[in-house]
């Protein structure tokens, strides 16, 4: 695979990179390079056009006002929707996840339009902010091990029939609807409330994104000793209350 290149686009780090979201970019980059791929990383600020030629688009979490601004600029730009129409992969976290849906509630308490790439609708929860470790069983179709992550959000996301939940939570809140779902996905678009960042805690998801973009079923193995040690520690810590 050494001649294959992978274009990784980090969408709007100036607005959406509050919770170590660069980590997801770094993990995809690192794991792709370890497989001999030539990675081109492109950080696109919100005053620049979104290129449509990327393979994997990563979008992170952010505060309420930047979230509204990001949604407005992405809608005006249109590039991300065109990229997805061309088969690109999107992995969106927290505020970015909400933007992938039909609408969310913005900092002004009004409904903001999202990109409609996921059949979900988000609102602001009345209950306390969801903060803490999350454990979840990933959707069978994704063939992923148990998911671990950290959530920190006020949002609630309702899933429509056009998506499947990314996971069912064993611990934590996930989508916050009380139905035990966490995140959403369809085809090549994924959304989650988990950070930590989530790809560092679940490198198998990073591999899934790379496999989807290369259209292969398997990747050469990597030495995942430290990822695995961290996963086991976080799973144990979450299940044994202090």
């Amino acid at each position: 695979m050494s001649d294959t290149s992978l274009r990784v686009v980090w969408v709007y780090p100036d607005l959406l990179s509050t919770y170590g979201d660069q980590g997801n970019v770094l993990v995809v980059e690192r794991r792709a390079r370890q497989r001999g791929l030539d990675v081109q990383r492109l950080d696109v600020r919100s005053d620049q056009p979104i290129p449509t030629s990327g393979d994997i688009y990563l979008i992170g979490g952010g505060e309420d006002r930047p979230q509204r601004l990001a949604a407005e600029r992405l809608l005006r730009d249109g590039g991300l929707n065109r990229a997805v129409d061309n088969g690109a992969i999107v992995f969106a976290v927290c505020a970015g996840y909400q933007i992938m849906g039909h609408e969310f509630v913005n900092d002004l308490g009004e409904r903001s339009a999202g990109l409609g790439l996921l059949d979900v609708v988000s609102s602001r929860g009345e209950a306390e902010r969801c903060v803490g470790d999350v454990l979840g069983e990933a959707d069978d179709q994704l063939r992923l091990p148990e998911l671990t992550g950290f959530e920190n959000h006020q949002g609630i996301t309702h899933l429509g029939p056009g998506v499947r939940p990314l996971a069912r939570v064993r611990l934590g809140n996930g989508n916050g609807t009380g139905d035990g779902t966490e995140g959403a996905w369809r085809d090549t678009v994924f959304g989650t409330y988990l950070h930590g960042p989530v790809l560092a805690r679940n490198p198998q998801i990073a591999d899934l994104l790379i496999k989807l973009s290369l259209d292969v079923n398997a990747l050469p193995p990597t030495d995942d000793t430290w990822y695995e040690a961290l996963r086991q520690e976080r799973i144990a810590a979450a299940t044994q209350p202090a």
Partner: protein, 412 residues
């Protein structure tokens, strides 16, 4: 401008005495200095105590995400040129700790007070400061501090209508946004290495343009104000254009910036820059930070870094490779329980240093370094880590509770 001339009311005196008693009990029970519990007891008896204790003092408040404890020490040292100073030197920076510190300095002329960012507006209302020094604002403890821009907004609201002179960093757009609600600001070009919390204009949300050291928003015209004081290499430039050398025992660019701001504060209190800067040399370590400790035949320099901006400034002051570096990170409640900030720190800058990782969250550090492509060793204890380093200097960088753990382990 005089010291404590009017006596406190009987109620306030009672509150101070009760606070001291509570502090003594807390100390006797082995719960630290007792200053916070003492302050809480005293404030419950007399809610206006802080205001009353401060009214005889010329007060300067110091707030920021990073560097406020050190800057408070530097300013206190400078103002002692003109009179006695009372200060919360150990960093108890919320109203109870501040009350307790002021209650201990009845003869002082100056109050030099570090204030937690979240409490700045309230404390400023209570103590009627003569000056307020604002150094920087950046992401810190994301699981509970809320939004950095909202914090700037709260500062902005709290500072409008303030009579104090605001001494603020012109190089931090969030600080400038917060301070510019005040009519009376002295701008200091103190620099700022960390830029990732201010790419978005705090006024209008436009994308900030940052050519060189300048910054501006092309959409609304919000821009860097013209500073009258500046840090320039190893010198402070005063409003007359004179350059005064900085001699500090504290290392790093960030501390030079703290010294520049402190010199501007001192000038507002009538202490000339030369006198102020000379006096700052006396500050060697601040609550154990920057201390060099002999441990198992090594010289461990203890460095505290609590958030991405702090780690960035710390990386720029450590000795070059092959000096070994020990990193220790916890995520207890005082640190913030969310470790995702580790990914905002460019650990690639440690390439070439032998690295040992420690602390409750050493595995988070391990994955972070693995992804950065930097070799490291995971260690069980400070002793284990030090054993893996050759004799000589070791740079030790830790976040809040990890730093306290390390100090205890190496007998500091």
């Amino acid at each position: 401008m005089a010291g404590n001339t009017e006596p406190l009311s009987p109620r306030s005196r009672l509150a101070v005495t009760a606070g001291r008693a509570a502090a003594a009990v807390s100390r006797a029970a082995g719960r630290g200095s007792g200053s916070v519990i003492g302050g809480k007891v005293a404030l419950r008896l007399d809610p206006d105590l802080l205001q009353r204790l401060a009214q005889h003092l010329d007060v300067v408040l110091v707030s920021a995400t990073n560097g406020k404890t050190t800057t408070t020490r530097l300013i206190a040292e400078a103002l002692r040129a003109n009179g006695e100073v009372v200060s919360n030197a150990l960093g108890a920076n919320m109203p109870a700790g501040i009350t307790s510190a002021l209650a201990g300095g009845s003869d002082a002329r100056y109050g030099v007070i570090e204030v937690d960012e979240k409490y700045l507006a309230g404390v400023a209302r209570d103590v009627t400061p003569k000056a307020i020094a604002l150094l920087n604002l950046s992401r810190d403890q994301l699981d509970r501090a809320g939004e950095t821009r909202m914090l700037a907004e709260r500062w902005r609201e709290g500072l409008s209508g303030q009579k104090a002179v605001i001494i603020a960093n012109a190089d931090d757009p969030l600080v400038v946004w917060a301070a510019s609600s005040s009519p009376n600001v002295v701008w200091v070009a103190a620099g700022q290495e960390w830029k990732d919390d201010a790419w978005s204009c705090p006024a209008c949300g436009g994308v900030m343009q940052r050519p060189g050291d300048d910054w501006f928003c092309a959409e609304c015209g919000f821009r860097r104000p013209l500073p009258t004081w500046a840090l320039s290499g190893d010198h402070v430039l005063d409003p007359h254009g004179s350059a005064w050398p900085i001699h500090l025992q504290l290392p790093g660019r960030a501390n030079k910036a703290n010294a520049a701001t402190s010199a501007a504060v001192a000038a507002a209190f009538g202490v000339p820059p030369q006198v102020a800067l000379e006096r700052m040399y006396a500050v060697k370590a601040v609550a154990g930070r920057y201390d060099v400790v002999q441990y198992q035949g090594r010289d461990m320099r203890l460095l505290l870094a609590k958030n991405p901006a702090g780690w960035l400034e710390t990386f720029s002051l450590i000795d070059p490779p092959p000096t070994p570096v020990i990193l220790s990170v916890n995520a207890r409640s005082a640190d913030g329980t969310d470790t995702s900030w580790l990914w905002d720190v460019d650990y690639g800058r440690l390439a070439g240093h032998p690295i040992c990782v420690l602390g409750d969250r050493k595995l988070d550090l391990a994955v972070r370094l693995e992804v950065a492509g930097v070799p490291f060793q995971v260690c069980e204890s400070p002793e284990d880590a030090v054993r893996r380093c050759p004799p000589g200097r070791i740079e030790t960088i830790a976040n809040y509770t990890a730093f306290q753990d390390l100090r205890r382990a190496v007998g500091n």
